[in-house]
Homo-oligomer: 226 residues x 2
């Protein structure tokens, strides 16, 4: 590998971690807005939305430049394709954090629903998963990436619990329908964040082991599967 | 461009269109299952789920091979990156069609809700959008791709209408909650299919014009924005 390619690949890694840190912050703020009724944090997330998008575009351009300039092969090529895909997943995680912030904004303006310990656990799990995913990317660590895949199963389970509780609430008290739907939407967005983290973890494993492990029966959106 | 690269790029285009045709069929069947209560079509979609996934993996491997073998630059490089990204979007559209098929399966087993002409229009619009997106990919046609972006706005609007109707139904009659949630989920999945089609269309425009037009204020999941 030439010195220039090495430097450019290190730069790509830094860039993708910058996007990752921004997304992590958006998730932390939007979920705090949701759990602690912090409308100020919700607003912060919505104000910062353009920055993640702009950074994603820059990273993609950077990847194309490195591909065109160095025409890397084998592991280097796979690394760049991993960055390209992770970049796209991270940007969508940022979009989902915004959606949670919007739902939280609505919920802050209305009477609180009953406490949802399942959703709190889901938030903790998803935050830890995103952290682990970014660590797996930095260290190209297959063990961490596999832990992410395990966590996703737990997130799906918690999401089904939240769904059941909220459906029950709506049936028993029609006055809760609007708020329950917003809470449900926040939960679903959390679950989708976990799905995107899983995509990134799968791509890290592919990069390290040359094995495509997608599609082991995992499906999207099991929330409404009953 | 060498003769071999030309042949490999043509092959990639054929492959991505094969994935596209499979996804289109899954969407057609799952939405017919939903609108016409055709449980047989729902089952067909769920039985065929592995095939789209397997084909997506093949196309990705093919892209990596062509990149490594020919080390293409400029437009050829961008074309392959477009195929890589479209491949991933199409596979997710297939997952979403499966989710719709599952929702339809549940709804077929239960008493029908009131008619939802808004959802029927949404289905028509999304099907046309997916067709147009695939045409834009085959012909690298920017005008068709721009039409897809326009249609997405209309799909979002219809989705909000469906949401309002169903929320109202749940508030007025708690006996409808479970079925309304499944119907809502189908609608949201349709809207997400339209979002992925939009991603592909944006990548076609980027390929043709070298201009990244993502993030013009479009957001995910406006369904619960009220």
């Amino acid at each position: 590998m030439t010195k220039h390619l090495l430097r450019d690949l290190e730069n790509l890694k830094k860039r993708i971690l910058t996007v990752g840190a921004m997304v992590e912050e958006a998730i932390a703020k939007s979920t705090s807005a949701l759990l602690d009724r912090r409308v100020d944090l919700s607003k912060q997330v919505l104000l910062g939305e353009g920055l993640i998008d702009a950074t994603e575009v820059l990273v993609e351009e950077e990847c194309l430049k490195v591909l065109a300039l160095h025409q890397p092969v084998a592991a280097d090529l796979r690394f760049i394709v991993m960055v390209l895909k992770a970049n796209s997943d991270l940007e969508r995680m940022g979009d989902l954090a915004e959606n949670i912030a919007e739902r939280a904004g609505y919920l802050c303006e209305n009477e609180p629903l009953r406490a949802l310990p399942e959703q709190k656990r889901m938030v903790e799990q998803v935050r830890a998963m995103v952290r682990e995913t970014l660590d797996a990317v930095v260290d190209l660590d297959v063990d961490k990436a596999r832990k992410v895949l395990q966590s996703d199963i737990e997130v799906d389970r918690l999401n089904r619990e939240v769904f059941a509780v909220l459906q029950d609430l709506m049936v028993r008290d029609s006055g809760t329908v609007a708020r329950a739907l917003h809470t449900l939407s926040a939960s679903r967005n959390l679950e989708r964040i976990a799905d995107h983290a899983t995509n990134v973890a799968e791509d890290v494993i592919f990069l390290c082991e040359g094995q495509i492990i997608r599609h082991r029966g995992r499906k999207l959106g099991p929330v409404t599967k009953r």
